[in-house]
């Protein structure tokens, strides 16, 4: 095919894809800065005539007249951040140590354990939630950020082990042999040689674990009941029940909940594709 014709055809195909990606997002953002009367008007106001950042100010810098809803979002955003960061830290620390042992050290049942751990990654949350719920109520952990951190580890930890395993596999064994000849023992080799050069793997694993924890909905829905532990997805979902009440506020909550994962993914985009290929799933 002639070059200009080929380019024209490509552009004709690219445009609808780009529109399909951005139009819903654009509408989400526009809705978040529209006044209520403009949102509830027919025909639709595509471009708000009086754009307002009131919803954002209400959530990020609450004042005297701030609504209950805005306060809820503010607290739940904080809960989400607390839970997702804690889960990421624990899964990364424990997961990378376990992963290293499973990949590089020889001991009985190693293979079985590796496959078993990878298998638990696939257990759906719904199959774990009833016993975890009973456990939470019995030990007074129901509706606490702690129970979310504990239960999120059920997917975050195997996930971290899996991703780090894919990474450790790419580090040449000769590097370790060299370190041991120089007199390092296993632990020293791990902490002085392996972990420092694993920084990219740790970043990418941490990113995926954080995104997954930030996205999690089901455990949070079942195991929390008030703002003291609710995460931002639960706050947003509850809103949809009592609809049209405050669409602008809800869309603002959505934008704010989407900003951290979107920004992080764009910054670390080169890790995303390699991570996806290694079997990272965010839901």
């Amino acid at each position: 095919m002639k070059r200009p014709l080929r380019t024209l055809l490509q552009v004709i195909l690219v445009i609808p894809v780009v529109l399909f990606i951005y139009l819903p997002v654009a509408w989400l953002i526009i809705s978040s800065i529209s006044t209520r009367s403009e949102l509830l008007s027919t025909p639709i106001h595509w471009i708000p005539q009086q754009p307002t950042f009131e919803n954002y100010i209400d959530i990020l810098a609450p004042g005297q007249g701030t609504s209950e809803v805005a306060k809820t979002f503010r607290i739940t955003l904080w809960n989400s951040l607390l839970v997702a960061s804690s889960v990421t830290f624990i899964a990364l620390t424990l997961g990378s140590l376990a992963s290293y042992a499973l990949i590089r050290l020889r001991f009985p049942f190693r293979q079985t354990m590796l496959i078993g751990i990878l298998g638990t990654r696939m257990i759906p949350e719904i199959s774990l939630v009833i016993p975890l719920y009973l456990f939470a109520t019995r030990f007074g952990l129901f509706n606490s950020p702690l129970i979310l951190i504990i239960t999120y580890l059920s997917f975050a930890l195997p996930f971290a082990i899996w991703l780090m395993a894919a990474f450790f596999n790419t580090i040449p064994v000769e590097l370790e042999d060299a370190a041991r000849i120089d007199g390092c023992n296993r632990i020293e080799t791990l902490f002085r040689i392996i972990l420092p050069i694993s920084a990219p793997g740790l970043v990418s694993t941490g990113l995926f674990v954080f995104l997954t924890a930030w996205d999690e909905f089901f455990f949070a829905l079942i195991l929390t009941s008030t703002v003291s532990a609710k995460t931002v997805p639960v706050a947003i979902a509850e809103f949809t029940g009592r609809y049209v009440v405050d669409v602008g506020g809800m869309m603002t909550g959505g934008v704010l909940a989407a900003i951290p994962p979107v920004i992080l993914s764009l910054i670390f985009q080169r890790y995303i594709v390699s991570g996806l290929t290694a079997g990272a799933v965010k839901g």
Binding site: P43, G95, A101, L105, F107, I130, T151, Y243, M251, L276
Partner: protein
């Protein structure tokens, strides 16, 4: 006298030490609960699990398997899974090919794909629910202005329409995932094979079907298995967009489990259902591990 451990014994000891914390956590929050779920599935406890617990053996399972609601729900879940994953695969492959052909702005397109993938599922659902809104939604607004429909349609009041619109929202979120995986795989394919085939007179379609597609098979399989497992247990997006409605018309197997357990209080029956979901997932997981995990890499 203390015996000096051999290097291998040292390794084994260190290995167990490094793995122990993770192992204990996984045993405690994954293995114990799943076994506990299996145990609960043999009981009936309609008056609350701590009040009364009657052993019914496989009763919950036989009751489920003879309940038409269960089969309707399975059928609906299969519909959701096949249609959404099927369309996602076709569109994902098409977009991956498009990116691979390096059109103007292909890097922008590749970066853009990350956005729908990164938007949290609940935000995605909320956004689409607002777009589908009967009175003020953007879908109605757009279609009326384009002259495709002449009055606003309450989209989410018909079960099959609602299900297809949930699928559309899921496609928006998941096509980028498949497209990103496949374009990464395409980028690693050797170009000389297709060039040689072209020299030998193979046309573009033959090159695609006979050379490119077989080479992409592993990547396609990975994407397919991951998405099938996810789609089969879909919950979040349905919870937000339709709440299982209208008239339970979008209740999938996970949603039914949720309703049985947390709305109707049938913990035993809910456990049986969720164990069946696990069983399906484990079968898929087996395929997944066989596809993704190559033991020779760790030797």
């Amino acid at each position: 006298m203390q015996r000096k451990l051999s290097l291998n014994q040292q390794d084994a000891l260190i290995g167990f030490g490094l793995i122990l914390p993770s192992l204990l956590i996984i045993l405690g929050i994954s293995l114990q609960p799943i076994l506990s779920t299996l145990f609960l599935s043999f009981f009936e406890s309609s008056r609350g699990i701590n009040v009364e617990r009657i052993f019914v053996g496989l009763g919950n399972y036989t009751a489920l398997l003879s309940d038409p609601v269960f089969w309707v729900t399975i059928g609906r879940t299969m519909y959701f899974t096949l249609v959404s994953v099927g369309l996602e695969l076709v569109l994902g492959l098409a977009i991956a090919q498009l990116i691979h052909s390096h059109p103007p702005g292909w890097q922008f397109l590749r970066t853009s794909l990350i956005i729908p993938w990164a938007v949290p599922t609940i935000v995605n659902g909320t956004m689409w629910r607002w777009i589908y809104n009967a009175d003020y939604g953007a879908l109605n607004g757009l279609l009326v202005q384009l002259g495709i429909i002449d009055k606003y349609i309450p989209w989410l009041t018909k079960p099959d329409v609602a299900m297809n619109l949930v699928i559309l929202a899921d496609i928006w979120h998941s096509v980028p995932f498949i497209a990103l995986i496949l374009q990464a795989a395409l980028a690693t394919l050797p170009a000389d094979l297709e060039e040689a085939a072209a020299v030998d007179g193979a046309n573009a379609l033959q090159r695609f079907l006979l050379i490119r597609l077989p080479l992409l098979r592993p990547a396609i399989l990975v994407a397919l298995v991951i998405r099938t497992v996810e789609a089969f247990r879909v919950f979040d997006i349905i919870y937000v967009i339709t709440n299982g409605g209208p008239a339970f018309g979008t209740v999938t197997i996970s949603y039914l489990t949720y309703l049985e357990t947390f709305s109707f209080g049938n913990l035993g029956r809910g456990s049986a259902l969720s164990f069946l979901i696990s069983l399906f997932t484990l079968i898929m997981a087996f395929i997944y591990i066989r596809v993704l995990y190559r033991p020779e890499e760790t030797q």
